[in-house]
Amino acid sequence: MQSICKKQLLGLTGLLLVGFLGGHLGGNLFLFGGADSFNGYAQHLANLRPGLLLIEGALGLLFITHIITALNVWFENQAARPIKYIATNQNSEQSLASKTMPYTGLFILLYLIWHLFNYTYAFGINHQPGLLTIKLPNGTVETKDFGLYGIVYASFKFSILNTLFYVIAMCVIGFHISHGFASALQTFGFSHKKYTPIVEKLSKLIGLIVAVAFSSIALYILIFNPINAISGGN
């Protein structure tokens, strides 16, 4: 495949994945609404089966295409300069985000695998219960199964390490997008004196929104403990 076609494929899959993240974020916001609201949404998604499989398959294909194309581009680029410079360029104007794309990408892949095991298929395949022990307003303590909401809740509330990793991963994804979005448009040939600087700002804004919005949910549960949980099950 020609280099430009390859990069357009990389850009297209990247843009579609950003679109998917937007949808995913919408779903996650149900976590702010509490157990019924979030589990209702999750159930809604699950009810779409087997149609959901089609979407999941397409999504999987998107991810795999994006990753394989990116790796291919990266390896080719390494090979294009077999002997590296001894001095580093003091006048470099390259952004840190563009420089680190392969590394942030690989980190996101790691996170993705972790996410699939911990959240996506935690409930559906393992039927892991989402047990939470909560303190009711009248002082009594109660343990019950909160379903997928409970799993997510416990993971953010009772493991700082887990939450930290999650927040870092969200920042890395945001950082990856901050270069990726504008870069994809350039690769498709969008360039305009007035609008390209705006697209570059928009790209950073989208990255920031992804990082902040996803993280805020985890931090909200960790800090505010909205349902007064005192311990998680499992």
Binding site: N77, R81, N91, S98, S191
Partner: protein
């Protein structure tokens, strides 16, 4: 007598394409700051020659920033630290007394070293041969107004035509990609009515670019920052979309 400075040069020396090279240290003493970088190298070479050594090989021709022959990487920056300037137009007043300069050739798989700082840039010529040309009728020069060219287009074409093909974009790109060079060649003729004759020029140039072993552009824009002629990355965008359109037309016609 104008000001002079002393420098330590670490220059890449390599006897031939297949011999391994290494940095060699030279003391550049009493360098007049009004000299150009190439004149400074001339002075060093004279000293080396007087010592019966092998002078440092470097490419140069016009020495007035218009031919694109010169170019080495100084402390990691192609054409040195001054923006929008070729190496031959760079003056020693840009450097401070006591500086150490690491001088390396353009580094890219597609630009094999011939000797010391001289690299083979014929890969760029082969890309131009693959599609960086246009069909023009022979015979008498036509009346200037027979083919009208919008001012905005001719301006952009002229900006792209400023490319001197020195290859600094490739040298600066972390991926050793030639996209800025090829983008300039695409805009140079593609914006003019005469250049619209062939509809697979860009595809052919990209095929050649890939075959030469240049890397893939990842939009880091190091090329634009380094280009001595300020070629804009919007030329790369134009090349990207022209390529897409040509691909679609090609598919439709086949």
């Amino acid at each position: 007598m104008s000001k002079t400075i002393n420098l330590t040069l670490k220059v890449w020396r390599q006897a031939g394409a297949d011999t391994p090279g290494k940095l060699e240290t030279y003391n550049a003493t009493n360098i007049d700051v009004e000299m150009s970088f190439l004149e400074m190298l001339d002075v060093i070479n004279e000293e080396i020659a007087l010592d019966d050594g092998d002078p440092i090989a470097f490419d140069n021709d016009c020495r007035e920033g218009i031919c694109g022959t010169c170019g080495v990487v100084v402390n990691g920056s192609p054409h040195g630290p001054q923006k929008s300037t070729t190496l031959c137009q760079l003056h020693m007043r840009k450097f401070n007394d006591g500086d150490t300069l690491i001088i390396e050739p353009w580094r890219a798989k597609a630009f094999p070293v011939i000797k010391d700082l001289v690299v083979d840039r014929s890969a760029l010529d082969r890309i131009s041969q693959a599609g960086g040309y246009t069909g023009v009728k022979t015979g008498q020069a036509p009346e200037a107004h027979t083919i009208a060219v919008p001012k905005a287009d001719s301006d952009k074409a002229m900006d792209a035509a400023a490319c001197i093909g020195c290859g600094a974009c490739v040298a600066a790109c972390p991926n050793a990609s030639a996209m800025l060079y090829v983008g300039a060649k695409v805009s140079h003729l593609g914006l003019l009515p005469q250049g619209k004759l062939d509809c697979d020029r860009v595809i052919n140039m990209v095929n050649q670019m890939d075959a030469e072993g240049f890397g893939n552009c990842t939009n880091t824009y190091e090329c634009e920052a380094t280009c001595p002629k300020d070629i804009n990355v919007s030329n790369i965008a134009r090349m990207n979309r022209t390529h897409l359109v040509e691909k679609i037309i090609q598919r439709k016609n086949s």
